[in-house]
Structures are given as structure tokens and as C-alpha cells.
């Protein structure tokens, strides 16, 4: 077995490190920490965060790639030691998620089949016991092959669901118990740090535990039933649709995060310098983003994707594996999405910096002869982070949706890569069939919907907590502030 690190895996790793660093930085500043506490104090905030975290976990599991060693081929007349010194690896790259969903991946049928169906979706010529040829829907190769009598299916599903439910509840009970124990230990250890205790006691624990239980139960159910049925059916070539939709999570989450992260340096760097230095720099930055904004984004993206296709064609030797090629194209897409959508945040940051650089504390810093570099990093940047946070979470869902739109018009990720956009693109022909093949698009839609909804709800909470103009009712402390201002 050999671990393979794709570029996007590495970027995800960097991203996780960045998030941890950010959390640590936030905890040192009581003001920002307080605002984040507001986000997690609300039930919507906590619940949507757990869903996002769950998606992220799947994306991480799907980003640990490895290649299986191929079994040794023993050929006569060749020295054995020479063979064993060189191990060959499979050209198929698997991830940890593939390992978990191995059943789903392996149980491939020949063509379409509906969710939970025992029969194929297309009639085939079959021979009965008497040797006569007749045309009917054949039984599926894998799904439901363990039951002989099709009429037992309903009771089988019920039985398995009950078992899965029990297992899920047990696991979540154990997990909740574990969390409680860890919390008690933490509280005991840090009893001197009052803040810590307060954070925990303010969290909507019931919501968090319910959400966790719900996620665990549905996961066990999906894995248990997915191993014997196709819970979302199969696609044209017989691949399990549920497997595809889950694999597409990595694409969605990564495109959302990476494209957002890529917009940040440009938006922050140019926006703040335009607002801070004004004059010529401001003119140049404004010129760049107005120009960029006036070109239709889709046009730029389509043109760049074509260029990248050409590049891949002419540099075949650089991309040995299909997955490497797909990964390269995927990253380029993130880059292009990022490069075409930094202007909004840049504009906001410029305006905010213009405002802040007029404030007395920046003037005071000038009076103390503090160099520009430090004024920006110490006085400006920390005071615009709320805008960056809000833009970050809002952009995330926009990029997830953008990916599916782009794949739909054919300039998205590589066709070999699982993505919701590709699934929806395929549904174009599936939905025009009669009877329609509705499950593929439904699976993609529902998984994407949950992610985007969670991200949007979370973004709302973040904005409420960080935007000073919004006064949220019912949250401790904010109302008091408003009352004092009157």
C-alpha cells in the first residue's frame, strides 16, 4: 500500500492547519471569542456547524488517498528476488472513504435500477427453465440477492432498518457519554479559567446531542442498507448513485473552501492597500476590479477551462493517472473561480479600510511613527476580520452552487470526477426518458441542498454576531448594549 498525496489533498491539509491556527488566535482575543460564542450559543448556529463539520469529515476521509500494491506476478525463469524488489501499484487510487463504502463501490449492476429495487430498470432477453426466451426485468446481480422471495423485501428492509437504528442509537449514546466525560474532566482541569466553563454551559447541548444522534443514525442506516440495496438506485452503467453522491461531497466542499481561500489574499491585499494608501494605488486597484467585474465571469471561466484542457492534452506525460489529471483540472477550476470572484470582498474591504484609517487610533499610530506595515497588520486587519468571516461563509455556498452550474454547462470538473454538477448534467437525458430516472438528480440535489442550507444558516448566524448594525434579540449581552446606547 502506498499513500498518494494529490495537490488538492495537500491544500485541504493546509486548510485544516489554517483553521486550527485561526481557532487558537481567536481564543486569545476575548472580544472575537465572545462573538463566536454567540454563533455557537444559537441552536441554528450549532446545528448547522455540526452538519458542515460532518461534510468536512467525509471530505477529509475521501482525501486520504492510497494505492493498493498489485499481487506479484510470478513468471517462470525469472529470478524471484528481482521481482520482489519492485512492487507495482494499482493505477486505481482509493481513499479511506472508498474503503468504508467498499460494498457500495463493488456492487455494480449493469444499468439503471430504482432505489431499493430488486429488478433492473431495463427489460432483457432471458431464458426460463424450459429454455424459452422471454423478455422481462431481470433480478439485480447484487441488490437484494440475499432474499429469495421478492415479497419478503419490505419486512427485510424494516428488520434491517430497526437493527441499523439500534446500532446508531448505541453508537451515539456511547459518543454523547464520552463527550460528557471529557467535558467533566476538562471543566475540572480548567476550573480556574471561568470562561471555559461558561462557553460549555451556554452551548445548546440538547440540540448538539440530537443533531449528532441524527447524523450517526442516518449514517449507520445508509451504510447498513447500502451494503445490500441501492438506496438511491444505480446509474446508466450500474454504479451506485448513493456512492457517487457521497463521493461528490469532497468535490463540493473543496471547491467551496479552496476557491474562497484563493480569493482571500487578492481581496485582502488589494482591498486594504487601496483603502489605506489611497491615491494612485487606489486608482489602479479600482481600475482592475471594475474591469474584471465588467467581463462576464462564465466567459472567463469557460475560456480558461478550454486552455487547461489543451495544456493537459499537450503534457500527457505529466499526468500519469486519471485521478491526477482530474485533480489538476479541479484545482484550476478553483483557481479560476477564486480569481474571478475576489472583487466583491475587495470592494467591501477597501471601503471599510477607508473608514478605519480615518479613526483616531490609526492617527495615533501615525503620531507614534508606527510603520505602515505594522499599522496594517495591527490596527487595520484585525478590525476588518468580521467582514472577511462573513464573506468567507457566504461565498462558500455560492461556490458549491457555481460548481454544479459550471459542470452542467460542461466547463466544470473532469467527467471522471464525482461531482453533483456532473450528476445533474447526466440527469438532463435521464429526466427526458419515460419513465423518468429521477433518483440521480434527487440524490445530488438533496445532499447539495443540505450542505448549502447549512452553510447559509451558519453564514446568517455569523453575520448576526459580527455585524454591529444587527441587534439580535434574545441573546445575552447584546440587548444590554443597545439599551445603553439610547
Amino acid at each position: 500500500m502506498k499513500f498518494t498525496l494529490l495537490y488538492s489533498d495537500a491544500l485541504l491539509l493546509v486548510l485544516m492547519i489554517a483553521i486550527f491556527a485561526m481557532v487558537r488566535a481567536i481564543r486569545t482575543n476575548p472580544q472575537t471569542a465572545k462573538k463566536w460564542r454567540y454563533v455557537f450559543q444559537s441552536r441554528v448556529g450549532s446545528a448547522s456547524f455540526i452538519i458542515i463539520a460532518f461534510y468536512l469529515l467525509i471530505a477529509i476521509l475521501d482525501s486520504i488517498h492510497y494505492r493498493q500494491a498489485l499481487p506479484e506476478v510470478v513468471t517462470k525463469g525469472v529470478d524471484k528476488s528481482a521481482v520482489s524488489s519492485q512492487v507495482h501499484y494499482s493505477s486505481e487510487v482509493n481513499s479511506v472513504l472508498d474503503f468504508i463504502l467498499a460494498d457500495l463501490k463493488a456492487n455494480s449492476e449493469t444499468t439503471y435500477s430504482a432505489p431499493f429495487s430488486l429488478y433492473s430498470f431495463a427489460k432483457e432477453n432471458q431464458t426460463d427453465s424450459l429454455g424459452r426466451i422471454y423478455r422481462d426485468y431481470p433480478r439485480l446481480k447484487f441488490a437484494g440477492s440475499h432474499i429469495d422471495d421478492p415479497s419478503d423485501q419490505a419486512s427485510d428492509i424494516l428488520k434491517r432498518s430497526a437493527i441499523a437504528l439500534g446500532q446508531g442509537l448505541l453508537i451515539s449514546l456511547a459518543l454523547v457519554g464520552l463527550i460528557k466525560v471529557v467535558l467533566i474532566i476538562l471543566v475540572k482541569k480548567q476550573s480556574t479559567r471561568l470562561n471555559q466553563n461558561q462557553t460549555i454551559s451556554y452551548l445548546p447541548q440538547k440540540t448538539i446531542y440530537l443533531m449528532l444522534t441524527f447524523l450517526i443514525v442516518s449514517t449507520t442506516w445508509a451504510i447498513d442498507l447500502g451494503s445490500v440495496y441501492h438506496i438511491f438506485g444505480t446509474d446508466k452503467v450500474g454504479t451506485d448513485v448513493f456512492y457517487q453522491a457521497v463521493k461528490a461531497i469532497r468535490t463540493g466542499v473543496l471547491i467551496g473552501t479552496l476557491a474562497t481561500i484563493l480569493t482571500l489574499p487578492l481581496a485582502i491585499g488589494l482591498g486594504i492597500s487601496a483603502g489605506y494608501f489611497k491615491g494612485l494605488i487606489d486608482d489602479v486597484v479600482q481600475y482592475i476590479y471594475t474591469t474584471l467585474n465588467s467581463i462576464p465571469g462564465i466567459l472567463l471561466i469557460a475560456a480558461s477551462i478550454l486552455l487547461i484542457d489543451v495544456y493537459i492534452e499537450t503534457h500527457q506525460s505529466d499526468f500519469n493517472l486519471t485521478i491526477e489529471r482530474a485533480d489538476f483540472k479541479f484545482l484550476s477550476l478553483c483557481l479560476i473561480l477564486g480569481l474571478t470572484s475576489w472583487t466583491g470582498l475587495c470592494r467591501l474591504l477597501r471601503a471599510e479600510t477607508l473608514k478605519i484609517s480615518q479613526l483616531d487610533y490609526v492617527q495615533a499610530a501615525h503620531a507614534f511613527g508606527v510603520p505602515h506595515r505594522k499599522v496594517i497588520s495591527r490596527h487595520i486587519l484585525p478590525n476588518v476580520t468580521h467582514i472577511i468571516f462573513i464573506a468567507l461563509v457566504l461565498d462558500f455556498s455560492a461556490f458549491v452552487l457555481a460548481e454544479s452550474v459550471l459542470s452542467y454547462i460542461g466547463v466544470g470538473v473532469d467527467a471522471s470526477m464525482n461531482s453533483w454538477g456532473n450528476m445533474i448534467n447526466a440527469a438532463r437525458s435521464e429526466l427526458s426518458r419515460d419513465p423518468t430516472v429521477w433518483w440521480s438528480v434527487t440524490a445530488a440535489f438533496s445532499l447539495m441542498f443540505v450542505l448549502v442550507l447549512a452553510a447559509n444558516l451558519f453564514a446568517d448566524e455569523v453575520r448576526d454576531a459580527f455585524d454591529p448594525r444587527i441587534v439580535k434579540s434574545g441573546i445575552f449581552g447584546i440587548k444590554r448594549k443597545q439599551a445603553q446606547e439610547i
Binding site: 487610533y361 510603520p371 495591527r378 434579540s473 434574545g474 443597545q482
Partner: protein, 531 residues
């Protein structure tokens, strides 16, 4: 029978029942001017808003009754209340800039009230609007009917607000700090107008203010509010003669004493400013050619000696802050010379000015915006010491900061906290410590006390005076508040439209002003004449 009677009014926060106003009762008669005095956060504005039933959602009235000429205001429906607002009770707000709609003409805005409460169309209302504008003293009302708020000055806007309030012959006028945003001379005019109108129309006026001078000149009755309670209520003459409650005594005692003048100090000139011009270019057209200049500072000269305070007095827009910025080299001087300690500093580049940054420091007006909310007090004070290399040794730097923070009256424990944990007065002390940390010779104080409450103002000024004696500091004290000056400044320079119209020793200028503008300024200051 009183026109307005407030009985046991209590207001609390809706979510945790924290009492903000506790059992407040008072009465106002027709034609009476009733002043509600108190510091920020004492609940005076909340009391006024609850009479109008305009409290924000986060607050609720928990107890009490308000009766306006036989009507129980708290038992009315919202629709009935809308008939009372603007018709029987009218309100004038603090800032006329934001309380008028910028996209409507003044005719439309006055006409709207008449349309709502008297059913007049704009054409029918026109004679009444002209009459109202004449009454509040807007010159040529006929031609100004179609003006927009931005075409009027601050004082005129407040007059228009008063005209709107008067439009429907309201019985009660609530004025919430009506002149705080205005300059002294305009404040005088607006207050005189209000007083005249009250007497002429037998209006009851509920005047909310923190300025004891205004109270003395205006009010018939005074009520002092503190922490949501009325601690003392009396008629004005008796109140100023013999305040009963210790807090009222403190309020009156904290007013600067106008009869005391500082002695002369220092002979050695520290800062000499001669013929200083700061002009801002106004660019126009496609090629951004310079079309004209805004002359913020237009040829001023003055000298500050060592250990001396020069007060630079003027109304808003007179260029006093710009002059301070030019001395700090934050704004470049267009022309003229600034000599600091024998060295010319005007026209120096940022780099060349660096050595002087240590010697010239600044304290700003607003203690809430002058500190980065994301830095601890220690980091805020330390920043200048590090960047100006005052003390390289970290250990000694820490000790100096500790000593400083104790000197300005705070505790070393406060160093690890963030600015938002401090009150306005405490923050201004921190700002003073920050300026002192680099051991300056000259501190430019840009209205350091105008954002503070009266009782705290005195303490901060006292601290500045003590520090001046200890360290031989010189101050350039920029202010619009003439009442502070006798106590504080050795010399005074009066600025108007970018020029110094009169300067000299404080006593000489204050007691025997030569220029007309100085005379006008001095007479406009609301004063308490103790008899």
C-alpha cells in the same frame, strides 16, 4: 392642574428586568420649562421616549402612569397614540443633521405634519409654513421653502425642526439635548428662540441636557437624574443657590471656576508657528485640475513656551484641529514655518520628522475611537515606546508602563484588559498615559474632554494640570468650550475661518476682549451667575 404628570414611571430591560428608570414622578405646567439633568446613562432620554411611547423593543415600561391633559397615554391604542405624537407632544432631537430627511424640501417636511394632523394639502398649508418659518427666525422663508436640508446651516436645520414641532400647536415640547451638536453662538440663538416660543405659546418644554449653564439660563424647574432616579427636584433659583442632594452639589461644584486664572509660566519658546497655511486642493473635471483651495488654516502664528498651555479656541470648522495636525506633521503645511525647539519641522518628510514624533504627542477627542478595540491596554501604551525606541529593555519598559498607569489613576491589573472594559473617563486617562509614555515635551490636546460627563471632565483636566507641573509639559489645548480656559490655559488664541482673530494672555482676553467675534463668543457661553 398640570399639563403633563408622570407618576412612578419605571422602565426595565425586557429580557432580564434590569431596572433602568425607577419610580420617576414629575409634573410640568403649561408655559413651564422643565429641565431634566443628568450624565449619560442616567435614564433621562428613556424617560422622554417613554412619554412618547417610542421605547425600543428591548425595553418595556413596567410601572407608572403618564397623563397629558386628562388623557392617560399608556392606556391608549397605538393608533390613538399616533394622533397624539406630533400633534399634542412634539419632539426635537439632538442632531439636526440626521433628523431631517435629506431628499425632501423643508416645505414638504413641515407640510407632512400639517397634512397628517390637520388634513391640509401642501398648497393649503403654504401660508402656515411661511408663518412658522418666520416665527422660528428663518430669513426669507418664501424663497427657502423649496430648499433641501443640506442648503441650510446647522442652526437653521434645528430651527426647521422646531418649526415642525410647532406646526400643530403642540402643548408639550420635548427637546432632547437640542443644542449639543451646535456651536456656542448658535446654541445661544436656538435657546433664546425656544424660550421665547414657550412663553409666547404657553408651551410646556421638557428640556433634557447635561449642561448646567443651559439649565441655569433656561429652566424654571430642575430635576436631577442619577442611575434612573430623580434625586432632587426644585425650582432653578433655589437649586443653584442651595443644592440639597450630594450629587447635585457635586455637579455644581465640578463646574470650572471662571474667576480663577493661571499664572504665567515659562519664557523659553518651545514651539513657534509663523504664518502657517494648510490649504486643501479641490480638483475638478476630467483631468483633475486644481480648481480652488479650501483654506482650512490661513496664515496663523503663535508661540508656546515651555511648561505653558495655549488654548486654541474656535467653533467647528474654524481650522483648529487641522492646525494641530499640521504641527504633528499628519497633514502637510502648504506654507509657513513651524519651529520646534529651535529646529524647523515644517515640510519635513515622514522619515525626517521621526525624531520629533517623540517630542510632540496628541490626545484625541473621542476616547472610544482613539484606541484599537483589539489591543490590550499594555499593547496600546507600549506601541509608541517600541516604535519610537524610547526604552529597548522589555523589563524596564514594563515597569515604566506600570508606573504610568498608576500615575494616571488606574491599576496595573488593568493593563491586560481591553479598551471596551473602561468608561470614557478611564479611557481618556489611558490615552494620556499613552501620550506620556514616549516622554513628550508638547502634547496637543484635541478637545480631550468634550466627550466626557461634567464630573469626570474636571478630574481629567486636573490630571493634565498636575502632569504639566510634574514634567514641565506644554499643551496646545484645542477646544470650543470657553468655560474650561481660565483654569487651564496661560494664553489663548481665538480662531475663526482659518485665521487667529485675537490672542493674548487668558485674563486679558477673557476680561477685556478686543475683537467682536471674541466678545460674541464670550457672551454666548451659558453661565451660572451666583448671586
Amino acid at each position: 392642574m398640570a399639563l403633563l404628570s408622570v407618576n412612578n414611571l419605571s422602565i426595565e430591560l425586557a429580557y432580564d428586568n434590569t431596572a433602568l428608570v425607577k419610580q420617576v414622578s414629575f409634573e410640568i405646567n403649561s408655559g413651564e420649562i422643565f429641565a431634566l439633568v443628568g450624565e449619560s446613562g442616567s435614564g433621562k432620554s428613556l424617560t422622554a421616549l417613554s412619554i412618547m411611547r417610542l421605547l425600543p423593543d428591548a425595553l418595556k415600561i413596567s410601572d407608572g402612569k403618564v397623563q397629558l391633559a386628562q388623557q392617560q397615554l399608556f392606556s391608549m391604542t397605538e393608533q390613538m397614540m399616533n394622533g397624539v405624537r406630533g400633534k399634542d407632544i412634539a419632539m426635537i432631537f439632538q442632531d439636526p443633521q440626521t433628523s431631517l430627511n435629506p431628499v425632501q424640501t423643508i416645505k414638504q417636511q413641515i407640510g407632512e405634519v400639517l397634512r397628517l394632523h390637520q388634513g391640509l394639502t401642501l398648497i393649503e398649508a403654504q401660508p402656515r409654513i411661511i408663518e412658522l418659518l418666520t416665527e422660528v427666525g428663518i430669513p426669507e422663508p418664501q424663497s427657502r421653502l423649496n430648499w433641501y436640508p443640506h442648503q441650510l446651516s446647522g442652526g437653521q436645520k434645528q430651527r426647521v425642526m422646531i418649526a415642525i414641532a410647532l406646526a400643530c400647536n403642540a402643548k408639550l415640547l420635548i427637546a432632547d439635548e437640542p443644542t449639543t451638536a451646535l456651536d456656542v453662538t448658535i446654541q445661544k440663538q436656538v435657546l433664546t428662540l425656544l424660550k421665547q416660543l414657550c412663553k409666547r405659546h404657553q408651551l410646556a418644554l421638557l428640556l433634557i441636557t447635561h449642561d448646567m449653564g443651559v439649565v441655569f439660563e433656561m429652566a424654571d424647574t430642575v430635576a436631577v437624574m442619577r442611575q434612573g432616579e430623580i434625586v432632587e427636584r426644585n425650582n432653578t433659583n433655589d437649586f443653584f443657590k442651595a443644592p440639597q442632594h450630594p450629587y447635585s452639589q457635586q455637579l455644581i461644584a465640578s463646574l470650572p471656576d471662571g474667576s480663577y486664572f493661571s499664572n504665567q509660566a515659562g519664557e523659553q519658546p518651545l514651539l513657534e508657528v509663523s504664518d502657517l497655511h494648510v490649504w486643501f486642493e479641490q480638483r475638478k473635471g476630467l483631468l483633475q485640475r486644481v480648481s480652488s483651495h479650501t483654506k482650512a488654516v490661513d496664515g496663523i502664528s503663535f508661540v508656546i513656551n515651555q511648561g505653558e498651555t495655549l488654548a486654541l479656541v474656535g467653533e467647528s470648522g474654524s481650522g483648529k484641529t487641522t492646525a494641530g495636525q499640521a504641527i504633528l506633521n499628519l497633514t502637510k503645511a502648504t506654507k509657513g514655518n513651524i519651529v520646534f525647539n529651535g529646529q524647523s519641522t515644517a515640510q519635513l518628510s515622514d522619515r525626517a520628522f521621526m525624531p520629533y514624533r517623540k517630542d510632540i504627542q496628541v490626545i484625541f477627542q473621542d476616547p472610544f475611537s482613539s484606541m484599537n478595540p483589539r489591543m490590550t491596554i499594555n499593547d496600546i501604551i507600549e506601541e509608541g515606546m517600541v516604535s519610537l525606541k524610547v526604552e529597548r529593555n522589555k523589563q524596564r519598559r514594563r515597569q515604566q508602563i506600570k508606573a504610568l498607569i498608576k500615575r494616571v489613576g488606574l491599576e496595573p491589573e488593568h493593563l491586560t484588559r481591553y479598551p471596551h472594559e473602561f468608561s470614557g473617563g478611564q479611557r481618556q486617562r489611558i490615552a494620556i498615559a499613552r501620550a506620556l509614555a514616549v516622554k513628550p515635551k508638547l502634547i496637543i490636546c484635541d478637545e480631550p474632554t468634550s466627550a466626557l460627563d461634567v464630573s469626570i471632565r474636571g478630574q481629567v483636566l486636573e490630571l493634565l494640570l498636575e502632569l504639566q507641573l510634574e514634567h514641565g509639559l506644554s499643551y496646545l489645548f484645542i477646544t470650543h468650550d470657553l468655560s474650561l480656559i481660565p483654569h487651564l490655559a496661560h494664553k489663548i488664541a481665538v480662531m475663526k475661518e482659518g485665521k487667529i482673530v485675537e490672542q493674548g494672555h487668558t485674563k486679558q482676553v477673557m476680561q477685556n476682549p478686543q475683537h467682536d467675534y471674541t466678545k460674541e463668543l464670550l457672551s454666548a457661553v451659558p453661565k451660572i451667575k451666583q448671586t
